[in-house]
Symmetry: C2
Subunit: 437 residues, 2 copies
């Protein structure tokens, strides 16, 4: 009975898609079944499983693979997936794996890991088929057939000269539609876009998105073809970059997913919160500086959360527009000037509308024209400043290539808090000395 | 000289890629040059230009196209791009365009517009080549050749039975590697994933991402093949969805880009801010309810911004994790339970650390154990509640399929503001009656 179950599992496992196998592996709580899933697969199945698993589960799956076949499994993996896996492992674990790989594979992986993080070099696979311009269509198809096992998901053949520089590209479709004895150089397209290995992965993603490409060849400084980035890798990059933007805006620290354990999440979130706690105390000391004003008109405290909150919110709104805009637009002087003027106008319109509204409310609630004036004028001023701060700060950080994580939502909110309190109590003190209640 | 310039422009325009042409069109401030760019292109070039332009510029470009060729240009457009363009036009403009299209094209576009917004039906192109299983490779390639002008960017041929239901798929690569007289049914893969036309575009994007696909066929309720979604459309969807998440988190309202004009941006941002203004007044009235406590110890006001701010921030951090997690994870009971337990633990750890810290600071700054106790206990409580609110509220909204825009960052921040003030002044009033300063 037991071996019958195992056989059923094996049949099932082989029938489903690699992504679903990885999902099943991760979802099963029973470690024995995880082991059986791994063992049911052949070497290339094992390689695909490893490519689709999250780092923690990769370690587990590796432990289920016999030492004698581990080298072959690793050699079957796409080398960008392999490099990514090694990058996440502890040093000693990674070294053990490098030892069982074939020397060529180990060299390639070391090479990939030598490229800067989040660069094109890290993302590319070196499994790219090249042909030369003097081949005929038949010869090109022969070469493709020869390498077809290894290069499964690629839709183009790149044409290189004897210096291995890209001269052109033919798609499988071009090959199908051509005559058997056509020369490659006659049917190839010579308008090929490529990127250098050190280019940021976000830039590559943007190019692939804008030009609707399926793949982007990677070249070295001598324009030699060294690898290929495919659209599925780019999709992962886009998701990762969007997640980073969101983490930035919410100050939630790096990489907290549904799978992160509580202590790690705590450790990643805490530094920000402690920093913000101290910045919050700055707000406190500003209020304490205006203690007299506040003690004379306690009602001023009633409007504090609203004014600070509104200023923070309008700043976050502007910030979101800018952070998202930075990922999809090239930034030049004209764009920045236009953006600043627009946000200034938006700030004035929002400030005027909300200012008049709250002045009226303040007057009727507290029965004092002075209080109505104080809150109205304050909100007008703080909303304009909040909008501009949310726009200018991320632009300046971007300009000086400072890690934009610093421009995160909570920081802008807290800065706007401090500014808004200074303005509010400043205006209140000035008006109350002239028109005391 | 003038005509020479025009000729140079024409040559240049024809050489660059469609995306760059659209960018140039949008960047040029001189309307005469925009007109020349449009006129320099042939019908299919004009169609591609329209596909790549933003809505405002589409209207302008359409005005440059002669009425006599407009119909042919529109017929050349991919019908998903065409539907998207009509969707953004004013009703009378759209009707004018529908009149000049060929009746078949107009029918197709009307059909696409009848699918729900953001569904697979809206995203698909109906330009899909099908073949049948009894064809030979040679016959399939002949059919491909016949339609190759129209179907430029597709990498698969779908195999359908006589009811037009999908039986399998062959890639161009399969065709290249097969023998000329192989039957399609022998070389096709029969494991084809497809989606129904009413499926949400985000679901389609997730499938394409997870299974590393290049295209996804769309079928109707009778499993008949009606269209195809390609990976480049999916990339646009992923970017759009990430942008929506960010807008949600920052409450910046719908669709504000660098190109939105000031008044539109103002109108889109205002409703949220006015709502938040009134919610902020609720905070105010809570404080006014504790006026006596506050008047007796004005120093309590010093810690208000810090406590409200920290609670808001920790809530936003949790919210970001959940909102982003919802787009990449399937939500089941186990996931939710695990997540809630983790966030509770994180809240307790963060609350305890920050609570002890602020209690010590409060004691040394204000020289009062009571104040230290009040702020410490309050922060512990509010941080735990803030973390849970940031987790539970979006999950509940997701469960009841309520528009998650309601769970946006500013709302959670403001709710946490109100909760934190109630807790803070509640604890303060209770402790001050027992241990007066």
């Amino acid at each position: 009975l037991h071996s019958q179950n195992t056989r059923k599992l094996e049949t099932f496992i082989k029938k489903i898609r690699p992504f679903d196998r990885a999902l099943l592996f991760e979802r099963l709580s029973n470690i024995v079944w995880k082991k059986r899933i791994t063992e049911a697969l052949d070497n290339s199945g094992k390689a695909e499983l490893l490519s689709h698993l999250h780092p923690e589960d990769q370690v587990l799956a590796i432990s289920f693979i016999e030492r004698s076949v581990l080298g072959s499994v690793l050699d079957e993996m796409q080398n960008d997936d392999l490099a990514r896996m090694l990058d996440h492992l502890q040093n000693d674990q990674a070294e053990t794996l490098v030892k069982v790989m074939s020397p060529e594979e180990a060299d390639i992986v070391q090479k990939i890991l030598s490229y800067p993080e989040e660069s094109a070099g890290r993302l590319m696979t070196n499994r790219v088929v090249w042909i030369n311009p003097e081949m005929t269509v038949t010869e090109a198809v022969q070469k493709l057939r020869q390498y077809s096992k290894i290069f499964e998901t690629i839709h183009y053949l790149y044409v290189v000269n004897d210096k291995h520089q890209i001269e052109g590209v033919v798609s499988y479709r071009d090959l199908l539609l051509a005559e058997q004895d056509d020369l490659i150089k006659r049917i190839m397209s010579d308008n090929v876009m490529s990127v250098k290995s050190y280019i940021d992965q976000e830039e590559v993603a943007r190019l692939i998105e804008q030009y609707d490409l399926i793949a982007m060849p990677v070249v070295d400084d001598n324009e030699k073809l060294i690898g290929l980035i495919t659209v599925d890798d780019v999709i992962d990059v886009l998701i990762q970059e969007a997640t980073e933007d969101i983490e930035r805006l919410s100050g939630s620290g790096k990489e907290i997913t549904f799978k992160t354990n509580a202590f790690t999440a705590f450790a990643r979130r805490l530094p920000w919160l402690v920093l913000l706690l101290f910045i919050g105390l700055v707000s406190g000391s500003i209020i304490s500086g205006f203690e007299e004003t506040l003690a004379s008109v306690v009602a001023l405290a009633f409007f504090m959360p609203m004014i600070a909150g509104m200023t923070g919110n309008t700043g976050t709104q502007s910030l979101a527009v800018v952070v998202r805009g930075l990922t999809t637009n090239r930034i030049d002087k004209l764009t920045v000037t236009k953006l600043l003027i627009r946000e200034l106008l938006v700030g004035i319109m929002i400030g005027a509308t909300c200012g008049v509204l709250i002045a009226a409310i303040g007057y009727f609630w507290q029965g004092s024209i002075t209080i109505g004036l104080i809150v109205g004028l304050s909100l007008l001023t703080t909303l304009i400043i909040g909008t501009l701060a949310g726009t200018i700060i991320p632009l300046i950080l971007h300009r000086f290539k400072i890690d934009p994580a610093i421009a995160s939502g909570p920081l802008i909110t807290t800065l706007n808090d401090i500014l808004s309190l200074l303005i509010y109590f400043g205006i209140a003190t000035a008006l109350l000395t002239r028109f005391p209640i």
